[in-house]
């Protein structure tokens, strides 16, 4: 485990009471990598993300981010599976709060900029329950993007979005992660999304989640338009490989 590794997961197993949710897992993520986690519902993806974010302590093994035991909110941005917006703040207020924690003066323009980045216009002054489910999820993403962390953890962030919005955000995320060199861990159920976004895809077995497939994605990260990329024969091949792994290694489980 070199100190340049953004994430180092060693022999980690996590139990909730008697339920072993994930593990044992060994996983090293070098800086700048875009890791996509795929696996059956309930296989432990969220748990693994929470372990990396520092919200859970592993029952066995160790987790290190940037060489240190992870502490929530330090060095890693996290988009939870649920939006988790603060109802006592307006939509814009939720984003402004994140900017404030990041130590930036939260001007209205900054907030609007972030909201526009996730495709939201003119909702800044609404209450959080006055926007649709997909809009809530996007506010949560905007909130996490407000802070410039070297590590970004995203738990099914685009699950509630329509195809068009989803593709736009995918492209944005792909470009930004490449340009800024941020390390990303991204959970999704969409094989297409996994292959499109990831520089590496890890497929987990059903609970307790273990690594079933660890596949580097050798597609070019720049230079190609999304449609061109999706049109590449390698893209189809990789998608087939991941899809097959998900299908064969996933069984509906508790």
């Amino acid at each position: 485990m070199s100190s340049a590794d953004a994430i180092a997961v060693q022999g980690v197993e996590h139990r909730y009471g008697d339920v072993t949710a994930v593990g044992p897992i060994d996983l090293t993520v070098p800086e700048g990598e875009f890791l996509v986690l795929v696996g059956a519902s309930g296989c432990g993806k969220s748990t693994l993300l929470r372990l990396i974010a520092g919200f859970e302590e592993p029952t066995f093994g160790t987790v290190r981010t940037a060489g240190e035991p992870p502490v929530p909110g330090r060095g890693a941005g996290l988009v939870f599976q649920q939006p988790r917006l603060f109802p006592w703040r307006s939509v814009g207020g939720n984003v402004a709060l994140a900017l404030k924690y990041a130590g930036q003066p939260a001007s209205e323009a900054d907030v609007d900029l972030l909201l526009e980045r996730v495709g939201l216009h003119g909702v800044a002054r609404r209450r959080t329950w006055q926007i649709s489910g997909g809009q809530q999820q996007r506010v949560a993403i905007a909130r996490a993007l407000a802070v410039d962390n070297p590590l970004l953890l995203l738990d099914e962030p685009f699950a509630a979005l329509d195809a068009l919005t989803r593709e736009r955000l995918q492209e944005d995320l792909r470009r930004v992660s490449h340009e800024t060199g941020r390390t990303c861990v991204f959970v999704t159920h969409s094989v297409d999304e996994a292959v499109f976004l990831g520089s590496r895809v890890v497929v987990l077995t059903p609970r307790p989640g273990q690594i079933a497939l660890d596949l580097p994605i050798t597609l070019p990260r720049t230079g190609l338009a999304p449609d061109e990329l999706r049109g590449l024969p390698e893209f189809a091949a990789l998608r087939a490989e991941v899809g097959a792994a998900v299908r064969t290694r996933s069984e509906v489980s508790a």
Binding site: A53, F55, P72, G73, R74, A76, G77, L78, F80, Q82, R84, L85, F86, P87, W88, R89, L97, A98, Y101, A102, G122, A124, R125, R126, R127, T128, W129, Q130, R143, A144, A146, V147
Partner: protein
């Protein structure tokens, strides 16, 4: 966009078809209250007529006369408004101190585990103590002027806020606390931005109870050197079985209490638009 804000959140569906729906609700509410008031008045008049004993149940007329008399010539050397004003001042100061103290205690108790272990029993102990029992100690410690009264009222007002706050703070929603921490919030930022706003509804309930407690303690606080003061006035009247003055005092206390509670409720509705949405 601004106008969106002013639009009220759509009423919860469960109340949608209630007889008090927004349109015409005010007038209906007013009418209902008026009817209730008239019924109560009728019952009172009836009770007064049948018992025919003004020391037990003074007639509405007698109480009205006392209102006029105490407002013009006064009672125990002071006008009714003076009595009421002084007591309200005491209640106000006592409530403010008590609420502030309760908030601080409650937050600390809810947030710092080791402090809770020590403070919780103390607060529980203190709030079980009857003010009448320890009031004489206050006299000994603080004399007979304003100080012991304010202490009594503050101590009466503190527990509801402290207990409600502590309970609500302990019950802070894990999901949102985590969300704030994930964004980089420190310990106190979590408290300020998640725990406290989330506790606000319960805190408001606590505050409303606290003010009520201060109100209902005003007679106890004014047992000593309580004139002028509405509590002192009531006690005086009680001793001379001037029940009409007692009832007048009760009305003065109750009605002003009603007013303050209405203000608090309005503030609550303004400040907590997210109630039921979390």
């Amino acid at each position: 966009m601004t106008s969106l804000l002013s639009a009220p959140p759509s009423a919860p569906a469960a109340e949608r078809r209630s007889p008090l729906a927004p349109s015409g609700g005010r007038r209906r509410r007013f009418a209902l209250r008026l009817v209730a008031l008239l019924v109560l008045y009728g019952l009172w008049e009836l009770a007064a007529r049948t018992t025919r004993n003004p020391t037990f149940i003074p007639s509405p007329g007698a109480v009205w006369d006392q209102l006029i008399r105490t407002s013009t010539t006064g009672y125990s050397g002071h006008l009714l408004v003076e009595h009421l004003g002084i007591s309200l001042r005491r209640i106000l100061i006592g409530s403010v101190i008590g609420v502030a103290g309760g908030l601080v205690t409650g937050v600390l108790m809810g947030v710092i585990p080791w402090l809770r272990v020590v403070t919780e029993p103390v607060v529980t102990f203190v709030r079980a103590l009857p003010p009448l029992a320890y009031f004489s100690l206050f006299i000994i410690w603080f004399g007979i002027d304003e100080t012991p009264k304010l202490w009594l009222l503050s101590i009466a007002a503190l527990p509801p806020v402290a207990v409600a706050t502590a309970a609500a703070v302990q019950g802070a929603p894990t999901g949102l606390v985590e969300a704030a921490r994930a964004l980089g919030a420190g310990r106190w930022e979590v408290i300020r931005d998640v725990t406290l706003p989330n506790a606000l509804p319960e805190i408001f309930t606590g505050v409303r109870l606290a003010v009520g407690m201060a109100y209902s303690s005003v007679v106890a606080a004014e047992t000593i050197n309580g004139v002028p003061g509405i509590g002192g006035m009531v006690r005086d009247a009680q001793r001379y079985s001037q029940t009409d003055v007692v009832v007048l005092g009760l009305f003065a206390i109750g009605l002003s209490g009603l007013l303050i509670d209405a203000l608090l409720r309005t503030a609550e509705n303004r400040l907590i638009p997210w109630r039921g949405r979390a």
